[in-house]
Symmetry: C2
Subunit: 545 residues, 2 copies
């Protein structure tokens, strides 16, 4: 027997319609690629979005068409988030930090039919356009005055497209399982793989994101995502903010410390999110200026795990509380979040910090399990280490064109490629990426623990632990570090620093100071590249053991 | 093109599974019908729920079967909320305050196959059972020791049913559109009509309910619904609380001021909800004892509109902030809620109070409109008064067995039967129930405004404005009032009190002091009964106009 409640589809345009009606003057603020700060209310945002929806229809965009963007976090990108999905097409947010060959590869793999681009990428698009035979139209996300000379001659201009269009548009009836967005994983192993979001998965994820123990979004929140809108929909905040009428601040392309600090101060930002390196930049800037920020309540940190020292520095310099999250493009991205429970009130500082270094706890809608090498589920004891698998209505069920099907288990779970523990309180703690794991003498050594140990040393800026081949132990850890500006350190002292903090057999055989670590397009260290570079080097000497 | 995220159904058992795994020790506390306070964690609640699911299967409960309850707000009722729905059956929560003939009518209309009942209703069930031919089994929600002698001899006993059952149960794969609950409207006009909730509508509603600008539920919340679990699922709190790991306090049958105040104090309740009369009782009790409560943050008030005086009294006596909500069985029930917006900070006391007397603003997922008598949508100007219509994924789409189809519009909206205004800020303000409206000289007079005006008089306890026939104006208002204990008042003085507060032509021709107002099973004044009583009385004298 089926229930008799209204069968209303969960669709993305309904979110902006709601915001425009109930929060017409609440602001969307962005730093435009052209430079100035732009601001408007949700009512105006909806009107422009509908003009763009009409323009898309006039351009011949059809339901299911992939409409690509090479763009930063701006109000025009925000409009495309709703206009493209609202007409039933699929917004493919290409990561412009990919190598140009990879941009071509993903655009062709996605069969992108239209391409919108920011001025920053006008030259790139001109260079690549002949390699994108399926693209029917290019649109520069600017006005005529600011169109860069290097843009393709046949590029249309965003503001010209919408200026003559009506500000009303009847959204088509959409199946909530209709694809809404396409985002490729960074592809540090193999080709990038496409995650095809649906209206349903995105709406449910946005609702879950706004809950008090997740991002706690309300009409009082001022939300600034410092993950770009090509990174898993800026963690879905451009959908979750209007769903509750929160103010949305989009930082454009400028993620340097000074630019971010300026927006936080000017807009009274309460909620920030981004990878750890962003906050290092902001903290450095605040160190230089001596400025204090008063408005920040929560800094959600994800993408990679911050060290204890960094958590303390971020909280000290930016104000507010750090909440780690763990997630992936494949999980929309919210998987877990580290929100304190009532029983943590009154715990001592060391316990608080130790808790904050875990990635967080699951929310309703995200089932988690860890499994051993033979596929059996492992206990939630905080010790058993295994492959992290996820299941839920905003978790990927298959990659676009069925790529990479080996990561989907027969019983319906997604294997994340992360190695982790779960504890009795429900906390997830990542110990490694499966592909980065070091296996020494048949046992795993956590590269994240080694990196965390060395980063507590005041001279160390960044670190990467990798496994190098070893004749007796199969692999042994090598720890590569960069130093903070103006600091020096002795490798043996660094090694001793680690040795004091981890199991004896985990201690790396060598700590090597290098100039810089290779960083990939999503801000993560490219360990594969490090391993490749070192593959030709002589094996390190065995540790005494 | 369909998205490729996991196609996981939104189902109710997943909520309790989540709570048991991530909040195993967070408490569900109830005042048992047998007297004592009972408490357990969500993990134990799930274990008992699964025992009951096994028991239901053993009893022959099949998917789609209606399983009825005549029960208060207790942990056993909470278990049935998940066990019955989890096995794919439909939980029919009968309002035991209905007249026994109506209990029989709804049980037979629903075709209830099983009936669970609290000890309070053992005699009633024994009396009615022969009139319920479809019911295959009766279950007393108690243990053998407490089984009342008046219970039917063939009644099964809840604790005996589950004691031998395993605490594990594999929930069947459910379609999220599967019916989960059935709740009949109070039926003040015509026969009661059944609202058939689905897993999907209930899960979505629970998520929306927990959002910061709605009920703001988190693992830190201590939630006590003082609407019984047969009133629109106690406003869905037994589902929303475990979805976020909030503590749930169920008051059993005792909704008197002393019992509620005791639970608030003992459990540190932060969130209360219920109809205005409940809070009058608590305030009266606190007046008598001089006690102060420290934990309450929010008192959600719905069911009928509180007066300004009552809002002030509740906030003064209970602590916390009153938030009106408006909703119906047909809207799961959350329609609107009166949560202050950032722009209301710093407003003066009079503005705050005036705002609090509106029912509230819409949330995402609840589309609202008001339409005139010819069906056209009216402006949101705070003045235009029309029929309130609602649409959304947790709004009723049709009544059970297609009763009352006239309230569903051709373009897919539900006509609530309420008369209201919407203002530019999005606030809904009810002015009447359509069936209670007074039309005088072709214009509507708001009975709620009249009642609000008279209730600001210190001697007045309750009021009901009704229309009485009039030869010239078709109808004129008559205001019936009851006085607070120990107070007296002159009817002409009361009339003058109203006249000073409303339009001249709205002033009732008579204010009549009576002993008591007839109250229906959902706590609302039965105006139809008042009108029927007065139909034989002489017409009141025309006002000078």
């Amino acid at each position: 027997m089926l229930g008799l409640m209204m069968d209303r589809a969960l669709t993305l345009p309904s979110i902006l319609e709601y915001a425009a009606q109930y929060h017409p003057d609440r602001q969307v603020v962005d730093r435009m690629v052209e430079g100035p700060i732009h601001r408007y209310g949700y009512a105006d945002a909806l009107a422009r979005t509908k003009r763009m929806a009409n323009a898309l229809a006039a351009m011949g965009v059809k339901p299911g068409d992939r409409v690509a963007t090479l763009a930063w976090s701006t109000h025009r990108h925000f409009e495309l988030y709703f206009a493209v999905t609202g007409v039933g097409a699929v917004l493919h947010t290409i990561n412009p930090r990919l190598h140009p060959d990879q941009v071509v590869w993903v655009a062709n793999h996605a069969e992108d039919a239209f391409l919108f681009f920011d001025n920053s990428f006008a030259g790139l698009v001109a260079e690549l356009k002949d390699r994108l035979p399926r693209v029917k139209a290019l649109v520069a996300m600017t006005d005529r005055e600011h169109l860069p000379p290097e843009a393709p001659a046949d590029a249309l201009v965003y503001e010209e497209l919408i200026v003559g269009q009506p500000a009303d548009f009847a959204w088509p009836d959409l199946d909530e399982r209709q694809a809404s967005g396409l985002c490729y994983t960074s592809g540090t192993t193999g080709n990038p793989k496409g995650v095809l979001y649906s209206h349903r998965s995105t709406v449910l994820h946005a609702m879950a994101l706004a809950l008090p123990d997740a991002f706690d979004f309300s009409a009082r929140s001022v939300v600034m995502p410092c993950a770009q809108m090509y990174h898993a929909n800026a963690w879905c905040t451009p959908y979750a903010a209007p769903l509750v009428g929160a103010t949305l601040v989009l930082p454009g392309r400028a993620l340097d410390g000074a630019s971010i600090a300026e927006l936080i101060r000017a807009e009274g930002v309460t909620f920030l999110l981004g990878v750890p390196t962003i906050w290092v930049g902001v903290a450095d800037h605040l160190d230089q200026t001596g400025e204090r920020l008063a408005s920040v309540k929560t800094i959600a940190v994800g993408g990679s795990a911050p060290t204890a020292a960094l958590v303390q520095r971020i909280e000290d310099r930016l104000g507010g509380q750090v909440r780690q999250i763990w997630g992936m493009t494949e999980t929309s991205p919210l998987g877990v979040i580290n929100t304190p429970l009532p029983q943590h009130d009154g715990e001592d500082e060391a316990a608080t910090l130790s808790r904050k270094l875990k990635q967080g706890r699951g929310l309703w809608g995200v089932d988690l399990r860890i499994v051993g090498e033979d596929g059996e589920e492992l206990p939630r004891d905080g010790k058993s280490t295994g492959a992290l698998q996820v299941r839920g209505p905003w978790t990927v069920g298959a990659y676009f064109k069925q790529d990479g099907s080996e990561v989907f288990t027969a019983d319906g779970w997604f294997d994340t490629g992360d190695i982790a523990t779960l504890d009795a309180e429900g906390y997830l703690r990542l110990t490694d990426r499966a592909k980065d794991v070091i296996k020494s003498g048949g046992e795993w050594i956590s590269t994240l623990d080694l990196e965390d140990a060395i980063c507590s040393h005041p001279a160390v800026a960044m670190a990467a632990a990798i496994g190098v081949p070893h004749p007796k132990w199969d692999e042994r850890p090598l720890l590569l570090v960069t130093l903070r500006p103006g600091h020096s350190a002795d490798p043996e002292a660094l090694k001793a620093h680690v040795a004091a903090r981890v199991a004896k057999w985990w201690t790396p055989d060598e700590v090597r100071i290098i100039e810089a670590l290779p960083i990939g397009p999503t801000g993560k260290v490219l360990k594969r590249e490090l391993r490749d570079q070192l593959a030709t080097a002589a094996p390190v000497q065995p540790a005494e053991s």
